[in-house]
Symmetry: C2
Subunit: 228 residues, 2 copies
């Protein structure tokens, strides 16, 4: 118990320091009129693939950018940079292999971005359904992605991600016929941990859910512009 109880105050101090910087980031986003969306999920749930299909679908001259967090490699940034948007890759190996992004790492990444030239900034967090949920980056909304291949019960086993999110995107829905998967059970588990959480069930390859996602993004941007 001693080690575990000792860790909790350490974690509390880290979170408090994080929140101060998150507030700073939030002010900078508001001043620049940028809406910031933080994507959180397990490894391989489809965050990069979602962005690959979102960036070309943005309409009305929306200027987007991406901050990508990974432990190692710049693969995701390379996949996104072909869409001709500013992409900043953070590899957390330089930060002790950190399993999540923190407000300070975002603040550093902002040095490499011209916020005034952006309307929408995506943060693709490190693939991890646990720790990224704990850290406020100053974003307007967290979005939790969950692949159907991960099983129905992940919302109740990893509740925080779905409690802090403002949208759940259920990915790879086209694979359901090939799995032993109970869609209704997953929906019930999501509702149990967060009854107010809207949900988009999506397949990038059939296109299902993409319109709903783009509409959610547009509404989020419109709200952020009003508040800013």
């Amino acid at each position: 118990m001693t080690d575990a109880t000792r860790r909790i105050p350490v974690i509390t101090r880290i979170l408090e320091a994080n929140d101060r910087v998150a507030d700073e980031n939030r002010r900078r986003f508001a001043e620049a009129g940028v809406c910031v969306v933080n994507l959180v999920s397990s490894p391989g749930a489809g965050k990069t693939t979602l962005l690959e299909h979102t960036l070309p679908a943005l309409r009305g001259g929306v200027r987007a950018g991406v901050i990508v967090g990974d432990i190692a490699t710049t693969r995701d940034a390379e996949r996104l940079a072909v869409h001709d948007v500013p992409v900043v890759q953070i590899t957390t190996e330089a930060f002790g292999g950190s399993c999540h992004l923190e407000a300070t790492t975002i603040r550093q990444a902002l040095d490499a971005l011209d916020l005034d030239s952006l309307d929408l900034l995506f943060v693709e967090n490190v693939g991890n359904l646990v720790c990224p949920a704990e850290f406020d980056l100053g974003e307007h909304a967290k979005v939790a992605l969950l692949s159907v291949t991960e099983g129905e019960d992940k919302p109740i086993k990893y509740p925080l991600a779905f409690q802090v999110a403002e949208l759940a995107v259920i990915t790879k829905i086209d694979l359901v016929p090939h799995l032993r998967y109970d869609l209704d059970a997953m929906r019930a588990f999501l509702e149990k941990v967060n009854p107010r959480l809207p949900r988009v069930e999506m397949s990038i390859y059939t296109g299902q859910g993409l319109d709903a996602w783009m509409a959610w993004l547009e509404e989020k941007m419109a709200r952020a512009a009003k508040r800013g």
Copy 2:
């Protein structure tokens, strides 16, 4: 940078304290003649399903037990307890929602297990491809599971898990025909991060790879018995 650099010594101290307790655990495992295998993967890669099929397949009177780590719920323990083996569930919500098991949490769990009555102890870690890889629990071997649905590049994006593991189990291999997935690319990425890592490609539903997995377990137990 200040927050990030401050965190690294904190993490170092936590790991040193962990390693001392891991050594204690290791001695207890050796004295009791128990082989301990620590399963590490992303959420939903199939750790519990693998154990559900491993426990009934154990031959020769092998007496097995399981320590299951989750942030919340006792679902996995309930799935495993029907196989009539001792199962201890750790829910890390009590430890600040910790995203991995530590040597001290294992030490506590051992209070609820009669080690002398076991030959084989599985530890099913929290679903997280990052942090569990950093923590020695005193186990004989870590096994990293990776589902094909997570994409080919996870070994190079989350290298530590595959560097500290003594076996990679590639799960859900029956789904490959339904994915846009390059098996050879995944194999090459694995080899890049750890050229000596043996690999079992597995489908619980077709049975592919189960024999190879059981043979690996038997060899691991035989080696642990010799050393102990």
